[in-house]
């Protein structure tokens, strides 16, 4: 192996081994998996929570049974109609919570007894049913067959021809895109901060002086970023893979739908985004000598990323084709977070993807040069926090 790269590989291997072997990694991954599972379960329950209602009928209103059952599906309501022996028994059942409503009296102007106020969907169903009864009675009175009218009406309606048919898998694409954006954000924040902590730990324990008497600062920095980046990638693959497996098993996700290309683009953008952020985090970490001071230099970075993420995430869900999210996804520090989501949504023209990629690579190169210099200048300075000007000033040979 190239003599300049062997130390890099050794350092990367050490960083990888010391993190993956640690219990924190396994436990942390499991906890995140568990949280994601709980979140998915809650969302699934909410989504599949179809409305069901129980309605009692009594007296003349029993005639509404058929119209009620026909009207319910058009309102997305699953309805059970329960005949009641009399009004008193029905009202008691409503008060006991066994029925959502009791419909009694006249079939056209029934009296509806409810606990407090009727559910909106249920009220519409009842209105539809009374309308149908009244209309049928009116039509029959004038010698028109209501069934024939219904059949004729059922045949009517426009035929929509769209220039760009909506993607039947749009929901799935949005889900994939958002999950990708979230995983990227999570990995970059977590493992970027880990790079900074590693840098500070080496400074705090002074071992950095021994290491730097053997290797150059850029080799140490590169090895660290590669090693921890690989750990982050491993976790990303574990979490992403588990998510896809669960979604597939639950039938939320069908193959195809740009699944493979989404996974590939998430991984590629992760690598780029990680290189970018890890360097920034490492340079920031090299400015301080004690773990207690780490947070103070990391906060400006994490807050910037967090704000960008929150704004971008909202834009992505509300208006994925809008100008604002287009601009954000083209800005290098945020491209890695949102470009893969826009690609998954199929709303990113190839030109924009190429532009964002080129901009991010250029930006990352600049950050590597700047961050590498700050790191090399500061990593051996112990004691007080190194000011940015000092860190930038003197360069090592």
């Amino acid at each position: 192996m190239n003599s300049a790269l062997r130390p890099v590989a050794l350092i990367a291997r050490r960083e990888f081994a010391s993190r993956v072997k640690g219990r924190a990694f396994v436990v942390g991954t499991l906890v995140v998996l568990l949280l994601l599972g709980v979140y998915a379960a809650v969302v699934a329950t909410l989504a599949s929570g179809e409305d069901t209602a129980r309605v009692g009928v009594t007296g003349a209103a029993v005639a509404l049974t058929g119209p009620l059952q026909r009207a319910a599906p058009t309102e997305g309501l699953s309805l059970t109609v329960v005949p009641q022996p009399d009004v008193a028994a029905g009202e008691a059942a409503v008060r006991a919570g066994d029925l959502d409503a009791l419909v009694g009296g006249d079939a056209v102007r029934p009296r509806v007894y409810v606990e407090s106020e009727p559910d909106a969907a249920l009220e519409r169903v009842i209105v539809d049913a009374t309308t149908a009864v009244a209309r049928d009675a009116y039509l029959v009175g004038r010698g028109v067959d209501p069934v024939g009218l219904d059949a004729a009406v059922a045949e009517s309606g426009p035929v929509v021809v769209s220039a760009e048919p909506p993607d039947p898998q749009a929901g799935q694409r949005l889900g994939l895109g958002l999950a990708g954006a979230f995983l990227l954000f999570f990995s970059i924040q977590t493992y970027g901060a880990m790079v900074a902590q590693g840098v500070v730990e080496e400074k705090a324990s002074r071992v950095v002086e021994i290491v730097l008497s053997s290797v150059r600062p850029w080799q140490l920095l590169l090895g660290k970023v590669l090693g921890l980046g690989a750990v982050g990638l491993l976790q990303l693959v574990v979490l992403g893979g588990a998510g896809l497996a669960v979604a597939g098993a639950a039938g939320v996700l069908s193959g195809g739908a740009g699944l493979v290309s989404t996974v590939v683009s998430v991984v590629v953008w992760y690598l780029l985004g990680f290189a970018l952020y890890a360097t920034v985090f490492a340079a920031a970490g090299s400015l301080v000598s004690r773990q207690e001071d780490t947070q103070s230099v990391l906060s400006p970075i994490t807050i910037t990323v967090l704000l960008g993420f929150v704004v971008g995430f909202n834009l992505l869900t509300s208006d994925p084709r809008g100008t604002a999210i287009t601009v954000i996804s083209l800005l290098p520090p945020f491209s890695p977070l949102f470009m893969p989501a826009r690609i998954a949504l199929g709303v990113a023209p190839v030109g924009q993807v190429v532009l964002a990629f080129a901009l991010t690579i250029a930006f990352t190169a600049a950050v590597l040069a700047l961050g590498g210099r700050i790191y090399a200048n500061s990593v051996l300075r112990t004691g007080a926090r190194v000011s940015f000007r000092e860190a930038w000033g003197r360069a090592r040979p």
């Binding site: 003599s3 062997r6 130390p7 050794l10 350092i11 050490r14 010391s18 080496e202 324990s205 002074r206 071992v207 950095v208 002086e209 021994i210 290491v211 730097l212 008497s213 053997s214 290797v215 150059r216 051996l380 112990t382 003197r394 090592r396 040979p397």
Partner: protein, 311 residues
């Protein structure tokens, strides 16, 4: 041969090194002494490439040091440091491999040095679980594990128990006997005097004296002890060739400005005139005294120079 040639270094307005020059020959144990802030640590850091010099050059076997030749130097920094959560054996193997050893060599060397330094049974333990003394041994093993051709050790004896001092001394002698240039700094001057083939004394970023302890002794103002019980105080004050006298519990100590035979004869004659002379001999000042005199003699040339420059 390790040569430090005219190395200068400033930290802001503070001069840390001002044309530091010294040479450590192969098979030589070199003691590096000086007050805190005199520039010992800065010199060693520059030799290891951990700091960049403003001027001057460090050469190993005649060639300027580069990244590859620096890996041949075993280094023990003044600020001790190891990965606290890494096991002793893994850590030593890692450091050896970073300095270019193969995995097999690194394993063998880690086993050998932990055995030698009496920490073989702690190989699997995290460094932070070891006592401070054992951590020091691991630190020494870290300096030796890559089988270096040169040793540069900053205060290797500080914090060691007497047994560990013996082990350390043995190891240093052994490396010296194997032909390696070995340089270490220390404030324990008796130890330096006992151990070192040559000594360099630094003051305010500059080597002010260099040589064997004997050479330094010869270079320092010669002193003479005269025990003449009946002599009256001041008996030797006006003698030609005598710069000063002082009374000690042993007798009169004369500092000779001119240690020639004529002066010695004059002094002996004067002493005999006072009565019996019980003792008349050249004093062999210990290194600590030479050091004190050397450091006191050499004033910094520029009064603006900050004392106690950052090490």
């Amino acid at each position: 041969m390790l040569e430090i040639d005219g190395v200068s270094k400033r930290f802001g307005s503070t001069v840390a090194l001002d044309g530091m020059t010294l040479t450590v020959r192969p098979g030589e144990l070199y003691g590096f002494v000086g007050a805190n802030g005199a520039g010992k640590t800065t010199t060693m850091r520059i030799a290891l490439g951990v700091l960049a010099a403003d001027a001057g050059e460090v050469r190993l076997d005649g060639r300027p040091l580069d990244a590859a030749s620096r890996r041949r130097i075993g280094y023990m920094p003044e600020e001790r440091g190891l990965y606290p959560r890494m096991a002793v054996g893994t850590q030593l193997r890692y450091l050896a491999e970073l300095r270019g050893r193969s995995a097999a060599d690194a394993r063998a060397a880690a086993d050998r040095w932990t055995e030698r330094l009496g920490i073989a049974d702690r190989r699997g333990d995290e460094v932070q679980r070891l006592s401070l003394g054992n951590q020091q041994r691991v630190q020494l093993a870290a300096a030796l594990v890559a089988d270096p051709d040169v040793l540069v050790l900053d205060e290797p004896f500080s914090g060691l128990d007497p047994l560990a001092v013996d082990v350390m001394s043995d190891v240093l002698r052994e490396r010296r006997d194997a032909g390696a240039p070995v340089v270490f700094s220390s404030h324990q001057l008796e130890l330096v005097e006992r151990l070192c083939d040559r000594v360099g004394i630094v003051r305010a970023g500059r080597a002010v004296a260099e040589g064997t302890v004997e050479e330094l002794r010869d270079a320092s103002a010669p002193e003479l002890l005269v025990v003449a019980p009946h002599a009256t105080p001041g008996w030797a004050d006006a003698l030609p060739g005598v710069d000063g006298t002082r009374l000690t519990h042993q007798g009169t100590v004369l500092t000779l400005g001119d240690p020639s035979d004529a002066t010695l004869t004059t002094v002996l004659d004067a002493a005999r005139r006072t009565g019996p002379v019980l003792e008349f001999r050249r004093l062999r000042p210990p290194l600590s005294e030479i050091y004190r005199d050397t450091v006191a003699d050499t004033r910094p040339p520029a009064p603006s120079e900050a004392p106690g420059a950052a090490a």
